[in-house]
Symmetry: C2
Subunit: 211 residues, 2 copies
DNA sequence: ACCCGTTTCAAACAAGTGTTTAAATCAGCT
DNA sequence: AGCTGATTTAAACACTTGTTTGAAACGGGT
């Protein structure tokens, strides 16, 4: 077994368990037994349980953020070329679509998306920061791009609405399997693949509402 | 010290710690020492840590849901009186305003709102159900009322958008102290009291977006 | 074949977990 | 005062937690 084999097995197992059971509710013993590695190998390869979480997040979020930033920059430069402000919808699409596409690319990716969707509301600050440190730069880019798209919105209200958008997104990201009304008499759960367009329509309408 | 004194002290402490540190990350020893009660009294009065969580949720959520349902019914009957469909905004306001008012009524209430805001995305199913069992009926009422208000929306898309609304709300409810961008160069955090109107405007616009 | 740095392994560590027990204390009543 | 049921208390229980240890196994290079 090569070195990276053990490391990826741990990362995959951690991704799944942290997402489905929660970080604090996942023990290294269940994790290492799921990944078929020795208990001590987590501390050997990653140093600690927390550093493992950091590694789990970085492995997926760094590439995803690169894609999201590229797409946003593409929208911005295309708008600049025709000397007009960028479209808010195009910007939000550039941010949301890669996220949801990635989410559907593999079961592990789905777990990961659900994991970072919950990180925002994670009470433990050190855990929350594992995610926030990597998420803030791209959110900064998005905020400034949206400000170009909608200059009539005051920065304060734009900020507030961006928070609402993130809330909406993170909620969708979390609901990997358990739809909220899953067991009620309400209409049946929705198809997750067919969720992107309604989501974009919703957040764009909310963002562009008259102040 | 009367019986209810100990019980309330436990409930208050649990509310605070479950909200700020998370359920799994709160030990009965830190809880009982914060509440200045004996360790065994939690199991004596509530049976188990999980039943305590149930009690914490029920104490606040049952009255709050009563208020929310009353206000929704009031909007519905007022609309019926003039033989016109209810306004979506009035319905969402009837649902959101009591929540946020209650949230600002006391520090414990703020903790509680943040706690149930996070319950939706709680990975542990038994914990999630503690909250969901009490939340589903009122959501059912809201769904049907909104269907009356916006009959042109298909039940499926209305359902989807209601999920988005709940996601937006729960995110706002969670951010008791830690604004997301709290430490960035983005505009400063917003005033939580002045959050209700922007929130209503956002979710109404998203809900009423053309299909 | 030997050596050497890397990786794996079983075992142990100290600390913390929710829960239970049985004795002690309290409050209300006759 | 003395009895009775409800509550509080300190101690212990059985178990799990993340981490550390030192020896064993591995793999490539000379």
């Amino acid at each position: 077994m090569s070195q990276s084999d053990t490391k990826t097995r741990i990362l995959d197992g951690a991704e799944q368990l942290f997402a489905r059971e929660g970080f604090h509710n996942t023990s290294l013993r269940t994790l290492t037994s799921l990944a078929s590695v020795n208990l001590a190998s987590v501390n050997y390869h990653f140093g600690s349980k927390e550093s493992l979480l950091q590694a789990v997040i970085e492995r997926r979020l760094l590439p995803l953020n690169r894609i999201r930033e590229e797409k946003i920059e593409k929208v911005l430069s295309a708008a600049k070329k025709i000397a007009s402000p960028p479209e808010a919808e195009a910007l939000l699409r550039a941010f949301i679509e890669p996220t949801m596409e990635f989410r559907n690319s593999s079961p592990g990716a789905r777990d990961f998306i659900s994991l970072i969707g919950r990180s925002l509301t994670e009470p433990d600050e050190t855990i929350r920061n594992c995610f926030m440190d990597l998420a803030l730069p791209i959110l900064q880019v998005l905020f400034e791009a949206l400000h170009q798209a909608l200059p009539q919105l005051s920065p304060a209200i734009l900020m507030t609405r961006l928070q609402f958008i993130i809330g909406t997104m993170s909620h969708v990201m979390c609901m990997s399997s358990h739809s909220i009304f899953h067991s009620s008499e309400l209409p049946p759960a929705f198809d997750h693949d067919a969720l992107v367009e309604p989501l974009i329509k919703y957040v764009v309408a909310g963002l562009e509402a008259p102040e």
